[in-house]
Symmetry: C2
């Protein structure tokens, strides 16, 4: 299948590498591909520049947000939540129309200092904002409640016995996403309902951040015991 | 030990019964004890009136908020979050001063319809509001992320292999609360840090409510796999 991944951060690269490894045709989208490739310094978290990653993943294409979205039969929003709507505007509504749009972003606000707060919460969510802005896209909120490494390889923690949530308005789109999640190794997939359930899952981020602080490691996840 | 439990709802009664069963001296506090005892109809959720419950738990005392708080060496806020500050004002700062105040309430707002939203979130929490209003109390936020039956008897789900969170500014108060949680059967207790961590755990309620809808039962909980 063809995937367009929006965002060249850790999440975008991790998803892109995993999808390419599964044999999919993947293009990563960024605001300015030339600028992205020209970076030679590690990012602020110490990760190698994109060009170094790209040398190790030559099958993954790089293009503008619009080119990546046009390429994908399924599009993944892996941009930072604070710029997601802007990035999706650049991707273009026509390039998202009728497609599954997996939204794995979080509306984290680092402008108030650490720990981050949420830019939208309680009575609305980023998932809903995206669905409202692009009504022809089939938005499915998922995977945003855990570390990027776990998103694509849940088996590396507790034998994969933990939970991923799915929310969205389109049943067929959710079925497509669930199949994809199973191909990553997920077995415990809970479908919470429509896209308004993104409020609940996005609001799990503040406790995630505190758990990251308390446990001093990012490889943890919630298992829904029931 | 002597406990004062504020609130005669399901949570207050469940905690009170469990504590009395463990041999503690328990008094439940309510706004107007005479009015509470005079109710003869089931509540809006179909639970029997307080007097019927009290007949089955004769060792549990009933008094005003102030009498229950004065009675307790540890005080438990089990009122509805929307009225917690008011109930605690009636309990009286002097009756809370120097004591462990276990806050197991949630600031749920049912006024906008279902599912409920939160009255405070993101940049503040009810736990913090209570701590600010009663600086001499040692507020510990805990147990508010699961159903009342599970709070006091985690073993009835998954052999008790799931997680309870604790947050508060006073290390000694948290140690007291952790001992109490262990006496209920809890083994996986995660101390998230200070009272500001209540933001994260209170913000878990929206996904809890959606899970209740998706799973069609209240007996579930999060296990933190790590």
């Amino acid at each position: 299948m063809r995937f367009g991944i929006l965002g060249t951060g850790v999440v975008g690269k991790t998803i892109a590498a995993r999808l390419a490894g599964l044999g999919h045709e993947v293009m990563i989208g960024t605001r300015d591909p030339e600028e992205t490739m020209s970076r030679t310094e590690p990012d602020r978290y110490g990760n190698p520049p994109f060009s170094a990653w790209h040398e190790e993943h030559p099958k993954v294409g790089l293009g503008t947000f619009a080119e990546a979205a046009a390429h994908g039969e399924t599009v993944v929003n892996a941009t930072a939540g604070a710029v997601s709507l802007e990035a999706l505007e650049q991707a273009g509504g026509d390039n998202l129309s009728g497609k599954v749009l997996m939204d794995i972003s979080n509306p984290l606000d680092f402008s108030r200092g650490m720990p981050p707060t949420l830019l939208v919460s309680n009575t609305d969510s980023l998932g809903e904002q995206i669905q409202r802005r692009f009504p022809e896209a089939k938005v499915v909120k998922t995977l945003h409640t855990m570390n990027a490494q776990l998103m694509v390889d849940p088996a590396q923690l507790g034998g994969g016995d933990h939970t991923v949530f799915v929310g969205g308005d389109d049943a067929e789109a959710k079925a497509t996403v669930k199949d994809l999640l199973r191909s990553f190794g997920w077995s415990d997939i809970i479908d919470l309902g429509d896209i308004t359930t993104a409020r609940g899952t996005e609001m799990m981020l503040p406790v995630w951040v505190r758990l990251f602080g308390a446990l001093q490691k990012p490889l943890f996840n919630f298992k829904l015991v029931r």
